[in-house]
């Protein structure tokens, strides 16, 4: 079981968390077509490498946060609270 470094509580077992996945921004719903809406619903990058994803500390502080995790090594490079900017050194487009 990997450790997830919660930005509020510190490193905790991953089974304390819910993985909400990559998720993109919600598109405006006015006049949206099925293709675009379903891309938002279902299409994920799912890359082997650095991904930016949302975690929820379900059995902890009950905060959502954003983590950059390498899906190959499970290393977590950065975490930040939702809504705050990603540190410039850690763009998800890298690697």
């Amino acid at each position: 079981m990997i450790l997830i470094p919660c930005p509020y509580c510190g490193p905790r077992n991953s089974d304390e968390f819910a993985h909400w996945g990559e998720g993109g921004a919600r598109p405006p719903v006015q006049d949206i077509g099925p293709a675009e809406w379903r891309a938002y619903l279902y299409i994920r990058r799912n890359r082997a490498g650095w991904t930016t994803e949302t975690w929820f500390h379900r059995f902890g502080c009950a905060r959502f946060f954003v983590a950059e995790r390498n899906t190959v090594t499970n290393e977590v490079r950065t975490t930040r609270s939702v809504g705050s900017e990603a540190p410039p050194s850690a763009s998800p487009e890298e690697g």
Binding site: M1, I2, L3, P11, N13, A18, W20, R26, V29, Q30, I32, P34, W37, Y40, L41, T54, F56, R58, A62, R63, F64, N74, V82, G83
Partner: protein
């Protein structure tokens, strides 16, 4: 039938005189039985050492050929000493300490260890060669059940009697700074140095005492061991776990530790999160492959030294020692010390070797290279070592073959939070091992605290002759009865990689999982394929390192069970429990039909505490409600409640419930019982991730309030007797409204007038501490009104009569809101809400199927929930989602999904029952079977 005469020396006393490091307490004798005969041993003996002291040499029959087998390693990993103890199968008898009164039996024998019918297998070994099962029993497939019945008789393993009382198992969590796997000299030194540096240390040792190979060493080693043990005992911050094994290392140093034979638990699994893992398992001695290498009386030098020095047992009278190192010489000296005649030390370093062991049932002689034969009853081999690199492999390390030392060594590429010390790294004197251990322990403590580390002295494997197989063939895997010949044939058949040959021959796949077998398998395969061992490579060590019982994995159940405050009352009234997620609820109190009639005619109360309750506060709550629910919330007035349905972004119904406005900026949301946690998380997700600027605060209140629904024509009358500060008249407190007041003198109760059952009803939420009190007061106050408790089943019947759906019962993971019959609720003219686009698409297309009310034409038939609905062409066209016999209507009533073509009122559909019969059912004009106008609940 092949018989082996009972070991001739079975009553001979093989106990030697006192040894300086012996573990036995000669003052305490323990009696036990072995295959029905009485024996005795001393406190501190293992089962096998006690038997060996009584002259027994033979403890099991092998897996395939049922060959007699004796001591090989004399520790936990001895493949030949696995027995049944009382009702516990597969006990490692060369490890397990003797207890008085044990009933010990041999496994894998029939009818007895001495007389064994299946030993006939041994006469025809070619029938059981590599791949035999695959080749012989695979075709024709139809005969497999017959093959299986026969093969089951040949399956090894003990018996778990159905009458077994089972056992207690436990679980523990630990967070040591440094976890040291292995309590030999290096491990003890590492633990000491780490603890001296301030680290919290867990030191895990497989044996019953610390010391590793020092325990059966010479006087100097025993003295060092005594010093180390004293230092560990006196050192603060070291927790020593004996008879415990590190089973595996997982991501981020999640380390499993199995503890055995605890006072209160057969086994306990510790889930440790270690900042640093120090791997110090020492070395495992490797058997030699030659003809007769499995005869009782052939054993490893470490086995002989354990027997002699730990248990004062003489392994034989006349011994030949074959060695390639000084440990074999030491074993020969130990044997000499206790009066075993050592006929010859055959030293591979002088170019000498053994060709075969001779004997029937046990060793009677040895043939050396060159043809010399020596008569003996003990052949000790000391041909080299295997580094048990498994924990390092699990940390990413790939072992590398060191040709000079003739063994695999760590590849030095494990994770930075894993270090190794001791024999697994290299060879050295006890003092050198201790120095290395101390340096690694100090470095581990430094790394655990994020500090600087110091270097460790060099510890390198000593050169060792490459000794794997003699000029003859013998067993490579004793557990699986795989010989070097089998590996040669596997290679010839094309299974020439280590991983393939392993699976084809099953070598390394027995109870030992390769600890003794892997390197010999690789070496023989290398020989058979004309490659080097380095080219052949080794197989992957996977967790667990030792067997773990399922009980230990399951451990103690930590999942909470939730009861409402009224549970004592339910229990006292004999309520039938219903397990619903974490909650235990009263399903009924004996007669759910009578409970329904009582509610319809008089008044009943039900405990609905598990109902999810979320307290919402803040000026932006209406925005949140408008976002999450498919209907409109902006105009909900203080004192009103409204029903709402939430969908996910894919339009699928997520949850439903009512939400009431208690004050200007104060709302109480109810959710389904099972959805309470998910809805809370859903709200938090939208608030935290998408609308952090909204001023809304969500508090989970489910268990803060006990919830009681009072339902039936007399419910207003009953509640009125306990409420004085709220006007309950229909004009002052109409349907779908909420009031705050005192119930039975308990202030701050919420009362909402809603009706899941279809009756006039009030749902009251009482501070949990007063739940039982209010419940009992309601029953006491309404005796003359005929009040009675009703359970979940009566509620389910009434809601079905009323046509109220249950999310996840009458909907599933694909049910969008329009399919669920919610067109009256979904407001597509709202600018936005969760799932809106998908519901727009569904609305445009029209739902493919619809939730409808169904009544079987035969009113006495209740189609099972899940029964399929078929078209005339017998294509599946839906299913029954809920069905009950309605006590109110005296007929069966259902809800179900049918395709849109069949969903119009009056259409008659075919319901296919699980028993194969078909019944007809009529689609009703609405979901409600009873009081569709809602006159009763609005009264």
């Amino acid at each position: 039938m092949v018989t082996i005469a009972r070991a001739r020396n079975s009553t001979r006393d093989m106990r030697a005189g006192r040894r300086p490091g012996e573990l036995i307490d000669r003052a305490t004798s323990l009696g036990f039985t072995w295959n029905g005969r009485r024996y005795s041993g001393f406190q501190g003996d293992t089962i096998v050492s006690a038997l060996a002291a009584s002259g027994e040499k033979f403890f099991s029959r092998s897996f395939k050929y049922h060959r007699p087998r004796g001591i090989l390693t004399a520790n936990f990993h001895d493949p030949n000493c696995i027995v049944q103890v009382d009702d516990e199968p597969n006990v490692r008898a060369a490890h397990r300490r003797l207890r008085g009164g044990m009933t010990v039996k041999a496994q894998n024998v029939w009818p007895s260890l001495a007389w064994d019918i299946a030993a006939v297998n041994g006469a025809f070994p070619r029938f059981l060669s590599a791949g035999f099962y695959y080749k012989t029993f695979i075709k024709p497939q139809r005969l497999w059940p017959a093959y299986e019945r026969v093969l089951q008789h040949f399956a090894p393993g003990g018996r778990l009697p159905a009458s077994s009382a089972g056992g207690e198992y436990d679980k523990r969590y630990a967070h040591p700074d440094v976890l040291v796997a292995g309590g030999g000299p290096a491990g003890m030194a590492a633990a000491l140095a780490a603890a001296e540096a301030g680290a919290s240390v867990m030191l895990v040792e497989e044996e019953y005492e610390l010391g590793g190979h020092l325990r059966y060493g010479r006087a100097g080693e025993l003295a060092l061991l005594a010093d180390l043990r004293r230092a560990v005992a006196e050192q603060d911050g070291v927790e020593v776990l004996l008879n415990s094994v590190v089973t595996g290392r997982y991501d981020d140093n999640w380390v499993g530790v199995l503890q055995r034979e605890l006072p209160n638990a057969g086994e306990r699994l510790i889930k440790a999160r270690a900042k640093m893992l120090v791997v110090a398992p020492g070395l495992i001695e490797r058997p030699y492959v030659f003809e007769g290498n499995d005869l009782p009386g052939v054993m490893l030098s470490t086995a002989a030294r354990r027997l002699v020095n730990l248990y004062a047992v003489k392994p034989g009278q006349r011994a030949v020692v074959f060695t390639g190192n000084d440990d074999g010489i030491a074993a020969a000296e130990d044997l000499g010390d206790i009066g075993t005649e050592v006929l010859r030390v055959v030293d591979a370093r002088r170019g000498e070797g053994v060709r075969r062991a001779i004997g029937r049932g046990q060793v009677s002689g040895v043939e050396l290279d060159g043809g010399t034969e020596l008569a003996c009853d003990l052949l000790v081999t000391s041909v080299g070592w295997t580094a048990p690199t498994s924990l390092l492999n699990m940390s990413g390390d790939i072992p590398r073959y060191d040709e000079r030392a003739a063994r695999f060594v760590p590849g030095r590429s494990a994770q930075p939070n894993v270090m190794a010390t001791g024999g697994i790294v290299g060879d050295g004197s006890a003092d050198e091992l201790v120095s290395h251990g101390r340096a690694v322990g100090a470095a581990a403590a430094a790394r655990a605290h994020g500090g600087n580390e110091t270097g460790a002295p060099e510890l390198v494997p000593r050169p060792h002759p490459a000794l794997f197989r003699a000029s003859t063939h013998g067993f490579v895997d004793f557990s699986e009865d795989v010989s070097s010949k089998d590996i040669f044939s596997a290679a010839q058949e094309g299974y020439d990689s280590a991983e393939l040959a392993k699976r084809y021959t099953t070598a390394t796949m027995g109870p030992g999982q390769g600890k003794l077998e892997t390197v010999n398998t690789v070496a023989v395969l290398a020989e058979a394929t004309g490659r080097t061992i380095a080219e052949t490579g080794t197989t992957v060590w996977r967790p667990p390192y030792v067997p773990i019982s399922l009980g230990a994995l399951a451990g103690r159940l930590h999942a909470p069970v939730r009861y409402s405050p009224m549970q004592p009352w339910h229990e006292a009234r004999g309520a039938v429990p219903l397990v619903a997620g974490q909650w235990v609820r009263p399903e009924h109190y004996g007669d759910p039909g009578a409970e329904v009639r009582n509610v319809r005619e008089k008044v009943g109360i039900i405990d609905v505490t598990p109902l999810g309750k979320l307290d919402l506060r803040g000026p932006d709550v209406p925005k949140l409600l408008n976002l999450l629910y498919v209907n409109k919330w902006s105009k909900l007035e203080v004192g009103s409640v409204r029903y709402g349905v939430m969908c996910a972004e894919d339009g699928v119904v997520l949850d439903d419930g009512v939400t009431g406005r208690l004050g200007e900026d104060h709302y109480l949301m109810s959710t389904t019982s099972s959805g309470a946690g998910a809805v809370w998380e859903w709200l938090e997700n939208w608030l935290q991730c998408s609308y952090p600027d909204w001023l809304v605060h969500v508090t989970q209140m489910t268990t803060a309030y006990a919830s009681i629904n009072i339902a039936g024509p007399s419910s207003r009358h009953l509640l009125g007797r306990l409420v004085s500060d709220v006007d309950l008249s229909p004009e002052a407190f109409p349907y779908m409204h909420v009031r705050t007041g005192s119930v039975a003198g308990v202030p701050d109760c919420y009362m909402w007038r809603i009706g899941f059952t279809g009756e006039l009803s009030y749902e009251i939420h009482v501070p949990a501490g007063f739940g039982l009190y209010v419940w009992e007061r309601l029953l006491a106050a309404g005796g003359d009104l005929g009040v009675g408790a009703f359970g979940v089943e009566a509620q389910r019947i009434m809601r079905l009569e009323k046509g109220h759906m249950i999310v996840a019962q009458d909907t599933d993971g694909l049910t969008e809101a329009f399919s669920a019959g919610l067109e009256w609720l979904v407001k597509l003219d709202k600018p936005d809400f969760i799932g809106k686009p998908e519901l727009v698409f569904e609305h445009e297309k029209g739902p493919g199927s619809k939730l409808v009310g169904l009544q079987p034409v035969d009113p006495g038939v209740v189609p099972a929930e899940g029964s399929q609905i078929l078209t005339d062409d017998r294509v599946i066209a839906g299913r029954v989602t809920s069905s009950r016999m309605s006590p109110t209507l005296g007929r069966s009533v259902c809800l179900g999904f049918v395709i849109a073509e069949l969903a119009s009122p009056g259409s008659v559909v075919t319901v296919h029952l699980p028993d194969g019969n078909d019944v007809a059912a009529t689609v009703m004009p609405q979901l409600a079977h009873f009081d569709p106008e809602g006159a009763r609940l609005r009264g």
